[in-house]
Symmetry: C2
Subunit: 664 residues, 2 copies
């Protein structure tokens, strides 16, 4: 029945003020109001329909995305949306497109790496979308190793130009989003050569297509790199391939804020500190962590609601069967992900603060905290995207067979999300960077230089090495200090143990390579500690609303104790906890699952996602799953005819044993 | 360059006889010969091309599958292939289709559950594909809980017929493969009702479509349930929805081998033991475990070859960069999966033996081992499919950005494989069944009834509870007995610990529910032990070929020590090993990675997969990755025109600021 809320009984069970939790989730009353308004605007506009997306062949899919992106821009202008509102609108349209790279990479890079003059020239064009830009760094042969890029930009002093060239097949640009079919300009990263000398990798603004007829300019070959993982998903994006055959651009199209090339072809460093790039980096990674909490919460919302609708087994005396959300195995898979979604939300909020802090420090020429900031954002990007990708897939499995249908929304969410583990830094490569800084920090502990920021705990290395957990009963694990200390001790001891093993190698680089798998584990432990500690810090704030804080305390407990259980091996191997204490943590965890159970639906309602945004029949707000699944099935193109295309050619000759003559 | 083997240097490094390893992998010289011949037959026939699969819209994709399936059947007949060869051919065609369910479920179910008379009637039709059958069990509302199915089969004594009916929306059959568009007949599971009495779930052969025009018969509504996860992938299959409106079938179309309905409507049990179903079950699950080793080995083959081609960082003095396969982090993610592929192969081989053994016992009316066999096959299905699904995705990530392209073959492999975690029993539901039998076995230990089969080790519970690992140096971990004992002790202690906790509950069912997450962990530990022990048993056989056995010993070491490391928490919490010993295991593991490294390419060559079957540019035998990736990109439909469809309507008005008038 339409209009009935099949989850009403679940909603009544909630013990806390959902409306207040929505504010907490959004970050502020203002943020909630904007999100709420814009998401509904998108949901109510049929032009933004997306339920047919997984059935469209590539060309139609792509054209449809062009339409939506253009229409979104039109609406943004008509409604005179603020920058905040416009970016929310793009977010709720929920379809990867060239605008992501234009606004998310091209514009910020010009802001960060362009001189004032360059910004004055290019930004107004970009802001009005009179040009569309992409970020062309990765090549067929090089991604992670940016210093290995092969594209060359050779300065020609005769004409005062750079010659952009792709000397090899592997130097073809490969992957940039928006490049394949749309961008008029690219921010191209290339090896700067002047006077026969190499000067490392720099960014160049290169016009790629004619502004009149959209054809690639002379010397430029561009195309789309082809289908990617999943139906719909990232195939709405034209990730592209690009080759240059001696393409000339004026000298002033090299981004010259940090170093510039003079008329004579000399490379001159400017007095702007190189560390400025850190600002952009923290900004981008903060966005990625926010996105992680968003993608994970979406998947969790779907799986939680469906788990309350789905019943299987356990009917007694003809009564209804058990809701699968009541099975402890289901809870032990689902609730830690629910808690992680909240945890990532809060660590994302903190990263936002960190970004402002870094900008303030940069302005004050204060660079000492930057390596730690770098490590922390790299590590959190890696941790949150990995957990989110795996978490979405787990949510899909939690929905049983029906999770495998595109109408569940989960396959597409997974496919579209999972490259976040690879782009903006491969997750393993990033953890190795964190590990490097951790090892450096540990090795300098005796130097008297106290570690800062998220590494400050390493300054208390002696008590942490001596630490013994004094948990005696399950409830003791609800004390945040107890949890924090255990996580600090575990992370510190894993780092110290790696450092000790490293010191036995005569060649430290060899040692680092040999022990890299262990180093990644130490680095993950450090990052998990950051998330736990930021969750705990959040709970020290004043949080209004009936029992809102209590719910968050339960979630914080679930987040940390589920981690403790999962990584029991670390905690036991470093003697941070005894096996008895680990077992008590597990008992407490089960108790927390019971506490969160009646609030589960309300906790995902607090994300305030529209059915449009969720894009999932299983996750419908009203729980009216079965009739809608049934209805949706008939829309598949295969159902256009009862007897399928191919019956006369293939099935009938097969059944009638007339294959010898059949043309196949 | 065509014809150059870019991996030749890698192949030269191999220290063992690859040709002999191929025989070991295939299971026998005969099996190798058949596989080799049939896989090449498929690969060399352009009718079986599959590289365009991820670009086809659903209807074309499906029609193309009909063509291939029919053509395959034609070839099978023309070449007079044996049953073994025919099934290999279908396997190498590598495309889910109605024939999977016809041969894999419909035919075996009639064999297992039909009377001799029914078999004589239906099997010849099915063998010649004069009828095409599907397996229609799952409904919209019920999957795991088969006893909850709602479809009814009511006996009408007046006409000597059953009336098959779908009383509710949720009773619609939902998921059966081959049902949506192709099958002429379905094996429909329904609630038997005679004389107003319910008699549980039984199977009925129901004709669904006219054999003349393929239209659904009166009272029958059928369709496809729509798009599923991934491009190409399982969308070649017509998983269907089916509703019955009082459809009548003759009484003799109920499968009556075990119980039958008489002319008068009485339900009579036959003297055939019910346990016979176990035979089919072991058979089907054995296939699934074989499939797991196959899917995992495919992914590992792709990731291993590409990891040897891909270079990133570490160039010294202008020399080539490091092959990413040389990074220890890459090795620690890849090599345990390589080892798992071999481990699953051998446990699959053993399951094949177990199947014969069970059939022998059934014939001798010997049923005592069946619960253990049931547990063991359920657990191994669950374990191997879960590891394989995760492993394929890990292999995809190991390929960095390029793994996200469909041309890598990995997205489709993942999407097509992953439902194996759900069908034939949800993996968690299965582990809970194992746990139940484990708990029963533990509780009966004092009764003097010795546990059998894979649970026999529990008969040595006392020494296992007293066991202390005596590893003193890393090398000690290469002793198979040491490894086996540690795994036995861990599994036994986890089971015993669960049993002890259970005994504290006054209501055992409540206890089981409350502790179910822990029980699943105990059950997984038990299943891992089975795989480890079967790998070790395999190594006790005579294995010819230069250093073939040694390689397998290295892989066995990697398999078990990587598990030990991953589940360190279990081993430490149960005091099976000390943290020092766990750390030594980890040292030994790193050493084994170094040993396997030069043999890695040869070890995946031993799978003997053709490039056609692999379906991956990254996994090409010759390693000629980059030119082929580049070439393939241009085949995407988006590249049919340089300026994309939609430019004039959308992009140009956007760039030219002419949106106000634009129709969007
Ligand atoms: C959907 C998508 C969108 C993208 N969009 C853009 C874009 O707009 N613009 C752009 O320029 N690029 C883009 N990229 C490219 C992306 O940035 C790269 O794919 C990413 O940087 C990873 O690099 P790679 O592909 O070279 O991986 P590789 O580095 O080749 O990784 C392969 C394997 O090697 C391992 N490895 C590599 N180096 C080391 C090391 N030193 N130590 C240990 N292990 C190592 C990795 O862990 C991984 O397992 C996009 C990619 C994707 C998938
Ligand atoms: C690709 C594909 C092909 C298929 N082909 C066929 C076919 O040919 N014929 C056919 O009849 N069916 C087919 N199926 C259906 C398949 O067999 C079912 O999807 C499967 O049995 C799982 O059942 P479910 O979907 O009801 O999951 P559910 O049981 O609803 O699972 C949902 C969640 O509940 C949990 N859960 C359920 N019961 C319990 C419990 N007692 N304790 C703890 N947790 C529990 C599960 O672990 C899961 O997390 C197919 C499915 C797929 C995806």
């Amino acid at each position: 029945m339409e209009g009935v809320d099949y989850l009403a009984a679940e909603r009544k069970k909630a013990e806390f003020d959902v409306e207040e939790m929505k504010i907490v989730w959004a970050g502020s009353r203002h943020a909630f109001e904007v999100s709420d308004r814009i998401s509904k605007l998108v949901a109510n506009d049929p032009a933004f329909r997306k339920d047919e997306r997984t059935m469209l062949p590539r060309k139609e899919l792509f054209k449809n995305t062009l339409r939506k992106a253009t229409y979104a821009w039109k609406r943004i202008n008509e409604l005179r949306l603020s920058e905040e509102e416009a970016s929310k609108l793009r977010f709720y349209v929920d379809e990867p497109s060239f605008t992501d790279l234009h606004w998310g990479m091209f514009v910020p890079a010009i802001k960060g790496q362009g001189t004032d003059e360059q910004q004055r020239k290019w930004l107004p064009l970009a802001y009005k979308m009179q040009i569309i830009g992409c970020y062309a760094q990765t090549e067929l042969g090089h991604g992670s190793n940016v210093q290995g890029l092969e594209t060359t930009a050779t300065f020609d002093p005769q004409t005062d130009e750079f010659v952009i060239h792709s000397p090899t097949l592997t130097s073809s640009k490969w992957w940039p989003g928006g490049l394949g079919k749309v961008s008029t300009h690219g921010l191209v990263y290339a090896r700067l050569i002047t006077d026969g000398q190499e000067h490392g990798i720099h960014g160049f603004i290169v016009q790629l297509r004619s502004l009149e007829d959209h054809k690639p300019l002379p010397g430029i070959t561009i195309g789309d790199i082809g289908m990617k993982f999943g139906n719909g998903a990232y195939n709405t994006m034209d990730n592209g391939v690009l080759r240059f055959d001696h393409v000339r651009i004026p000298r002033d199209q090299m981004l010259m804020r940090v170093s510039r090339v003079t008329r004579e072809g000399k490379v001159v460093e400017s007095d702007v500190p190189r560390q400025l790039v850190y600002g952009t980096m923290v900004f981008v990674r903060q966005t990625i962590v926010q996105d992680a909490s968003c993608a994970l919460s979406r998947a969790v919302c779907i799986a939680t609601r469906y788990s309350a609708v789905r019943r299987q087994f356990g009917s007694q005396n003809g009564g209804p069967e058990t809701q699968v959300i009541d099975y402890k195995t289901q809870q032990s898979r689902l609730f830690p992900l629910l808690a992680s979604a909240y945890a990532f939300r809060f660590v994302g909020e903190w990263l936002n603060w960190l970004y402002m802090d870094v900008m303030r420090r940069l302005q004050a020429n204060e660079f000492s905290t930057l390596p730690e900031v770098h490590a922390c954002t790299a590590g959190l990007k890696s941790l949150t995207t990995s957990v989110t990708a795996d978490g979405i897939e787990e949510c899909r499995k939690l929905c049983g067979g029906h999770g495998y249908l595109c109408t569940s929304g989960l396959p597409e969410l997974f496919a579209v999300y999972v490259p976040a583990c690879t782009y903006e830094g491969d997750n393993i490569v990033l953890q190795l960077q964190v590990a490097r800084i951790l090892m450096k920090t540990v090795s300098q502990l005796s130097s008297g230089k106290p570690p800062v920021g998220t590494m400050a705990y390493l300054g208390r290395i002696e008590p942490l090495m001596q630490y013994r957990c004094n948990v005696q009963k399950a409830k003791d694990w609800m004390n945040p200090n107890v949890v924090l200390e255990a996580f600090e001790a575990r992370a510190a001891r894993m780092s110290v143990s790696c450092a000790q093993k490293l010191s036995k190698f005569s060649n430290p680089e060899e040692g680092f390579a040999e022990l890299s798998a262990d180093l990644v584990e130490a680095s993950v432990a450090h990052c998990q500690l950051i998330v736990v500690s930021k969750f705990i810090e959040k709970l020290q704030q004043d949080i209004p609303g009936k029992r809102v804080k209590q719910q968050l305390e339960v979630l914080c407990g679930i987040y940390s104790l589920a981690l403790l259980h999962k990584h029991q091996g670390d905690f036991l191997a470093t003697s941070c906890v005894t096996s008895k204490q680990a077992s008590l943590a597990n008992d407490q965890l089960r108790e927390l699952y019971t506490q969160v159970r009646p609030n589960a639906i309300a906790l995902v309602d607090a994300f305030n996602y529209t059915d449009h945004f969720l894009g999932s029949i299983l996750g419908r707000y009203d729980g009216n799953v079965y009739p809608k699944l049934y209805e949706a099935a008939w829309k598949d193109p295969l159902n256009e005819s009862v007897v399928p295309d191919g019956y006369h050619q293939y099935i009938r000759p097969l059944l009638k044993q007339q294959l010898r003559a059949a043309k196949l």
